[in-house]
Symmetry: C2
Subunit: 167 residues, 2 copies
DNA sequence: GACAATTAGTCAAGTACACTTTACTAATCA
DNA sequence: TGATTAGTAAAGTGTACTTGACTAATTGTC
């Protein structure tokens, strides 16, 4: 019997050093991937703690697309590039957890506007928590370098988007 | 009947502009995420074309962990922080597609060393294709800024890793 | 103003991927 | 020889979707 004792410990101790060594020598793409994953996980954990439910990446990916005045399901689906049903499922969970609510749009009674429970305030707080992580990283890296990183990433995104769509 | 005509077109036309606008104003985390995904997709597509099979992200994630002289399944699993079985499944597919092969390790006949078919040459070519993408991005961004981005990302990774494991 | 077509959203089921757990064989080490 | 280790086999799980079929509100057309 081997008992397969990988899990947490192995993942965070045995694996981590190996991973770090490889990542440092890896391609920019690899480093990019790893940074993105870690930043994401950290933010996810904090927002989850704040909200009191274990959110998943798909949930937080939804948040930045929800406008202060509320947004329709269909609009969210378009913005995210997925089906209405996919968004519907995520929204359904968030509503059941008391994070979001759906209110009938008086301008079109078929539609409902989705917004944060507690309105703008709650939204702001949520974004603030996400911002906290970035604030700490900015501090660790130095404000100047952090801003530089931001600019470079936005430029990179511009290049990447260009190759795919326009032009 | 609505026919649900999202798919490709909507995703790349309707969605893309909305997405880009949001991403540019988004947090560093968001931009990071999006860049990583796009770089990854691009590399994946090119390697797939070269190899002649549609590889998935999990496959290419495996590649940088395979050493020139071949690597054991268990070692790969440790490096990647997943179970041996998970790696086993990916390797199995890649072997069936003729990308990798398993050869018995003469030093320990329980073990097999996993390496690229065609040996170092094939590995080099594969990595070269991945490098191509980065080369083009470097050109688009300017070599100086690209290197700067690289340095900043590695530093960011250092900060992120530190928070999680050591200390 | 009636009615067909469209649109917003829901319901239910299915799928792809990237894993995991449990259970095993075969080779090696102590 | 008994315990460990390398790897395999098979089935199960969680996430993030998709497709197809449907209801209800609305809009455009005659």
């Amino acid at each position: 019997m081997e008992k397969q004792e990988k899990t947490k410990l192995a993942k965070e101790e045995t694996g981590a050093r190996e991973q770090l060594e490889h990542a440092k020598r890896g391609s920019v793409g690899q480093v990019l991937m790893r940074c993105a994953r870690l930043v994401n996980e950290e933010g996810l954990e904090r927002v989850s703690k704040k909200v009191g439910v274990r959110l998943r990446p798909a949930h937080t990916a939804l948040f930045p697309h929800i406008d202060l005045e509320g947004t329709r399901l269909t609009t969210l689906a378009e913005r995210m590039g997925v089906s209405k049903q996919a968004v519907g499922q995520l929204v359904e969970e968030l509503v059941s957890w008391g994070v979001l609510e759906r209110v009938v749009d008086p301008e079109d009674r078929r539609a409902r506007k989705i917004h944060f429970v507690g309105g703008a305030q709650a939204l702001m707080e949520g974004l603030q928590v996400l911002g906290e992580v970035e604030g700490e990283l900015a501090e660790a890296l130095g404000e100047e370098d952090w801003q530089h990183l931001r600019v470079l990433l936005v430029r990179l995104l511009g290049v990447l988007e260009h190759r795919e769509i326009s032009h």
